[in-house]
Subunit: 259 residues, 2 copies
């Protein structure tokens, strides 16, 4: 398992690299994180950098109804194909960055702690094996929603609008390669109080199945992110509250809803 | 009115420029089309270049139910806010490029002739005046849909999936600045037979209203495209058929559904 981070250093330069085993230093790399990145001789303390979202997706694909526990609770049949919406690139923020309440919206804002798949290879109509090989690694996700907009219009569920606001796709803190998702849980805390704790092996479509099936719908490219959907325990974030999404082996993604 | 095109020349180089009044030569520009592009001394015959999609959106925002005639036909109330889905960057193709049937899909594929707004300035929470100023120009759109996927799952309308396939966002042939959309019609022909002919002034949300309201939902950046929605006359494209979307003053966008 390797933890990859992207960061801005004290001089404002953007870089990327791997964390050492204590997660206190980052070994900087050059080139393209997805295509034979080259280690440099330079390392620096993690404390001295600002973490950024660990990748820059051209699109974020967010799944709905992908856990058996939640599909049972909602009394919805498991889908035959991943059900998804698309979130725009400008919705992405990294660890520690603030979620911003839309100026035009005073309603409830919800967190959803999730596993995120980071694509490492261009793929289209991938077989399950090709799909597995196209997964670079995994990250933590908070898929934020302006919930009162979703059903505001009786004729059209506004998934892209309610989830597409700037800062509503929180990603990080790192991308972990070689991660065994079947053994981990997603734990979401709001101001330190646990709200979600669900096993990833309750997923309806596994990550490789998601990549294979979605790659039949559109070409996936390096850096694209699939948010695997959430399970039970979704709730709202009060203005000023902090949300932690933790996955053992990946780390904790913390974002506050700015006052 | 100026017509901007993007193209690939005989040597494979990508460039952009303006058409002369006969639309037979392109005057090449350097730099950024949206930020003080510089004319060169170089011009070349349009015949000798391959036209590309006139811009490279980070996201394509496609409206549903934005014409009074279609909302009446569907018996749906006009919305209070633009209803939209997001199409990914890889769905974009230019004039003359083939629409490709997804390998995994044998059902009906529909055309929708539309006006496209091309954003020229970054904007967020824009006033109507700022929104108007953020519009670089307009282009023709064919917003293609794999219609049988849309309602395949009873619990989730699959807008992003059915409209997000590679090649399903046809744009072009040019971007026209200073275009008076209120005086024009969208005319869609399939293999030369007229199927749509509707006036743009039947729009529910005007282009400036769309940009202002959508910019409250997400930051729009130069090159982003808003597809203004379609009106009556949507239908299916047989494999091998050609679709022309024409708007007086912009030109004709032609794309064939590849056999």
């Amino acid at each position: 398992m390797t933890n990859w981070i992207r960061f801005r250093d004290a001089e404002g330069r953007i870089g990327f690299g791997t964390l050492d085993q204590h997660a206190t230093r980052v070994l900087q790399y050059d080139g393209n994180i997805f295509d034979r990145p080259k280690p440099t001789n330079h390392s620096l303390p993690v404390k001295e950098v600002t973490l950024l979202a660990p990748c820059e997706p051209t699109k974020v694909i967010a799944l709905w109804n992908n856990y058996y526990a939640l599909s049972q609770k909602l009394d919805k049949a498991p889908p035959q194909h991943p059900l998804f919406l698309i979130k725009p690139p400008m919705s992405v923020i990294g660890p520690g960055a603030d979620i911003r309440r839309p100026k035009s919206y005073q309603g409830k804002i919800a967190y959803e702690g999730e596993l995120g798949i980071v694509i490492g290879k261009t793929c289209s109509n991938a077989t399950p094996e090709e799909a597995e090989a196209a997964i670079f690694g995994y990250t933590c996700v908070n898929d934020v929603t302006a919930v009162e907009l979703l059903q505001e219009d009786p004729n059209f569920a506004q998934w892209c609008r309610s989830k597409g606001f700037d800062t509503f796709s929180c990603l990080g803190p790192s991308i972990v390669t070689g991660f065994d998702w079947r053994r981990a849980n997603v734990v979401t805390k709001v101001d330190g109080v646990e709200r979600q704790n669900y096993p990833l092996d309750d997923m309806i479509f596994t990550p490789a199945q998601q990549v294979a099936m979605i790659s039949a719908d559109m070409t996936l490219v390096p850096g694209d992110v699939i948010m695997c959907g959430t399970s039970i325990g979704v709730g709202s974030i009060k203005d000023g509250a902090s949300v932690d999404v933790s996955i053992d082996g990946i780390g904790t993604l913390t974002n506050r809803l700015a006052i």
